[in-house]
Symmetry: D2
Subunit: 328 residues, 4 copies
């Protein structure tokens, strides 16, 4: 048992080259609500979110991702988290309230894989638009759901998140040698807040946003094509075997991968037994057997160091098999 | 066999008091495409329509409906139709091309029930927006589908439309005495272009517009409520027993009844046997057994005489039973 | 902070007169999975449930409801719950493992309103059918979602559940005098596990089951009508203002009210501010303004005493207003 | 103007090796209604069809397709069609009523491309299951929609169908040299009854069946995967640019290609201008830009000669370009 309470993944911050270009994609095509825009950044939220933002697009020439933001229950949880990370010899850094727009005091750290994380318990409130159906458009983005990262050693990352941070595992992928190749870990009662997959890393593979139903994804494909974004569709739509969600993977104008995600299941029960999938099961990724393209396996985005602001160094994956056999 | 070819119901023209107020309802909430707006009128079309309009809203203080517009295959069909109406001693009147905005030469008549009809074969073209999914909103109105009128003598109207105008009957409602209480008649290959029901008339009961799927109706209810139009929802959503369509009935700001309609079936086959429904079958109107409100049976809109421009006189219904028994 | 961890509402047990008649309704029409059937009872679960059942139908001539079943995290939680209930002078009773089919040790109690509750941490496992799409039918019931009870003093029930049992409030209804008329309380991260509304009680108003999307509800209406169950539809389908869920209320063959429920929102955040609705807001119950029928306000089911097995006595509601003004 | 009236494509007859294997696919997975089964054949229809069948599966070792069946308005139309085919020097053959199960008198012919066609005006009636929602499953197949054939000379086939048989063109694909590479032709008021594409032929490319909405296709994918048919999914689901329909292509157990198809548009108007698509427009086939697999371009099924029962000889395509450039 941990002595702190991490609630859920709560925000991501991406560097983008052209704010106008990104705004067209995220607001006009995908249907994010724009909370605020400055010369430096755009702050976006989903229709059911009651907080200032879950996605920040920062103007920058450098393709990279800031620390992944997790919400905790209380201010004290932040101090206890710092104690944990320091006890493991991991870097930590405070950002006092007011340093980051709309955000309270935040603890920045690097985790066991070198991945930058941020913890906070307070964000400015924003009007919830869930019943402003007149504003629904594109994918009808409802809320942030999860982040998925490639790391060199999934078992190490798994162990740290489950044993030290108090995450639970809903589903995982194993190799023929019974090594964990990928894992879906959650704090909130959905399939995941954080997934890890075997690969060069730590890198961000994608951010997942939750939609109300599969038709929102179909409509989003139609809207994207109407607006000239057909080439942004990388994979799907389809049904995941793992998680059972209906999904679509997009590449935004800078190349970041966004997953539109709908319809997993409740993971409230402590006695829920994690579901095991064989890496080579063709129904694992897409239940209907469709293969993911090479780019989906090979392309990720680099993280930034919480202290230097430089890209975090990466290492090659521990497990040899890089893709399911039927893809190779 | 007729010697002319009526294609389908193609437009309706409604008098409305306040063009701005109507525009908010039809364009902002229901999602019609506005082709053109003048000081006198708004011209609206659905997403798949390749013609200038299917609905005209004319500024006027007088709550009433102009002649129902039917498209025919050729100019010659108009002359042959005139011959038919004249041979029956019914009023006819020509409106030459250019008289009505965006419309070719039109023949106006009164039918056997005194109901004003308009026939034309030519309308200005407009860009089809079917694949402009970025413009989809509200109910995603696709095209005009049908008109439904209350008339004093349904059997007389039925006989005129089927025997003289060449319509086919898809479904009908019969009383216990086996009299036709209502009928669904079509030229295009859907359940109807024109329906008649027993009532004071001739009056317009409603205009039906076709939507791509039931979820467009659910979303429209949500949008209407978000925009403060909840009171405009008169009946539904529900599944019709008769026609099998998923439906919603609305009252527009002037009180005209609009049906959103989706999912009937193909009526291409000449050997299709009209489906009989008993007036008192609770699944006839709403397959789920839900009762229609009194207003749905009692309130209609008056027509205008093609010559005088005054309201067309009405007569009480021939058949005594005014509603299904379980409603009374 | 409580010293126990209630996970979620997990099962309900209803007395029914005719098991075959009930089976047709719940399995053939609604699409529940039948885990097991004996001469005395039918055990049902939803498609995503990994436990033996969430609904038990017990053969009995007596129209009444057994203790509402809540799952807790551990066996120790049961002892701590007993301590709490005893400290309040409330009745408690143990049912040892094996006493109830497929269930571990259970603590039965009466709560502050006299309502019978049952707590347990263990139930036999069952195969999860979430990806057996070939078995989906009717309403595609996914899992139990909530119970709703009428009680004479909602504020007292609210206070007990929030302050003593550790529930959080997501939304509530207030009268003009700012008294709590109804409340939606949750342990799992959805809008509710337990709702209370002002009325004669304690009585069961309805049990809610979660479905994957609104179309499952539409299809269920169609299936119900096809199978002759149209009269079982009491209210809806529609969108709730409160909770934002898409809903349908049914009356089962014995008269118990079942809600099909889909699409509320995540309630993970401790800083989520409960949403206040005015009792007389026409969008509160049905966002589209549709009125609930009288039966929905007036008819409920009695509970059974955990010791005597007799019906629990009821008291009239504390707050005078029994319905929204626009209904009266 | 023709002196006969072809109504629509109405049935196809496929040879299959194993009736039980085919039944599992078409009835259990896709949801066809089985009208009748003999030792030699299975007769299938969709939920809205009021006729005995639209698909016949005949037991045979020979992978091949019988004459494509078109319904005409009257018995006289058959004689007039014979006159036309004979005047063109094309083979014709009568099958008197009773020769083919459930079918009236039929005229068999080879068309200008050598493709076998069958015309009839009478088929036994069958109960329409449109409102038997309790029987809906899998893809909820509603009715036969179209056939698509590859022919060596699309312009010749186009000209014969449009000028001699009275079909209308809704959409077509042209090469950079403005040659017709593919064409969508209809008699009933949908996008097509008959499509032609440039290829070795005459061969059957696929049969299309109409479904009520896109979710029926998504659910069908899920059901197929649940039942072990994931490998049967060849292409999609997706949105067609051409026709705007939502689609899925399957390969049945013998290898025949079946399209599930939903949501094109009304083609009632004689002044509708055929829509031109450039062969190399990436949105033409799949509006979202997804590429079709090679098998979709290369694999078809042979036809049988109406007289000899042997496979019809084929010829290579006239136009050199075999696929869109971005596929090659």
């Amino acid at each position: 048992m941990t002595d702190f309470n991490i609630i859920r993944v709560a925000r991501t911050v991406l560097n983008v080259k052209d704010l106008d270009r990104s705004r067209k994609f995220y607001v006009d095509a995908l249907g994010f609500i724009e909370t605020e825009r400055t010369d430096e950044a755009i702050y976006l939220r989903g229709l059911e979110e009651h907080t200032h933002h879950s996605l920040v697009l920062k103007k920058s020439e450098q393709y990279s991702v800031h620390a992944l933001g997790y919400k905790v229950a209380s201010n004290e949880d932040l101090d206890r988290l710092q104690a944990l990370f320091q006890s493991k010899g991991l870097k930590t850094k405070w950002m006092e309230e007011g340093t980051q727009h709309a955000l309270g005091r935040a603890l920045l750290v690097h985790d066991i894989s070198g991945m930058p994380l941020e913890f906070f318990c307070k964000m400015d409130a924003a009007e919830r638009m869930l019943q402003r159906y007149d504003l629904y458009k594109g994918a009808r983005i409802q809320r942030i759901d999860h982040v998925n990262c490639s790391v060199p050693d999934v078992e190490k990352a798994y162990s740290f998140f489950v044993n030290e941070l108090g995450f639970a595992c809903s589903e995982y992928t194993a190799t023929d040698q019974d090594r964990i190749w990928a894992a879906w870990l959650h704090r909130k009662q959905t399939v995941h807040d954080q997934a890890f997959m075997n690969g060069e890393g730590p890198c961000l593979h994608h951010i997942g946003f939750w939609l109300p139903d599969p038709m929102a994804i179909i409509h989003c494909c139609d809207v994207l094509a109407s607006l000239g974004y057909a080439a942004s569709i990388e994979r799907g739509p389809g049904r995941h075997g793992l998680s059972n969600a209906f999904f679509l993977y997009l590449r935004d104008p800078d190349g970041y991968r966004i997953e539109l995600y709908s319809g997993d299941y409740l993971t409230s029960d402590p006695d829920f037994k994690p579901i095991r999938w064989d890496l080579n099961d063709p129904r694992r990724q897409t239940f209907w057997g469709t293969k993911a393209p090479d780019s989906w396996f090979n392309e990720t985005a680099p993280f930034l160091d919480i202290e230097t602001g430089d890209p975090v160094g990466t290492a090659p994956p521990t497990l040899e098999q890089k893709k399911p056999e039927f893809i190779i």
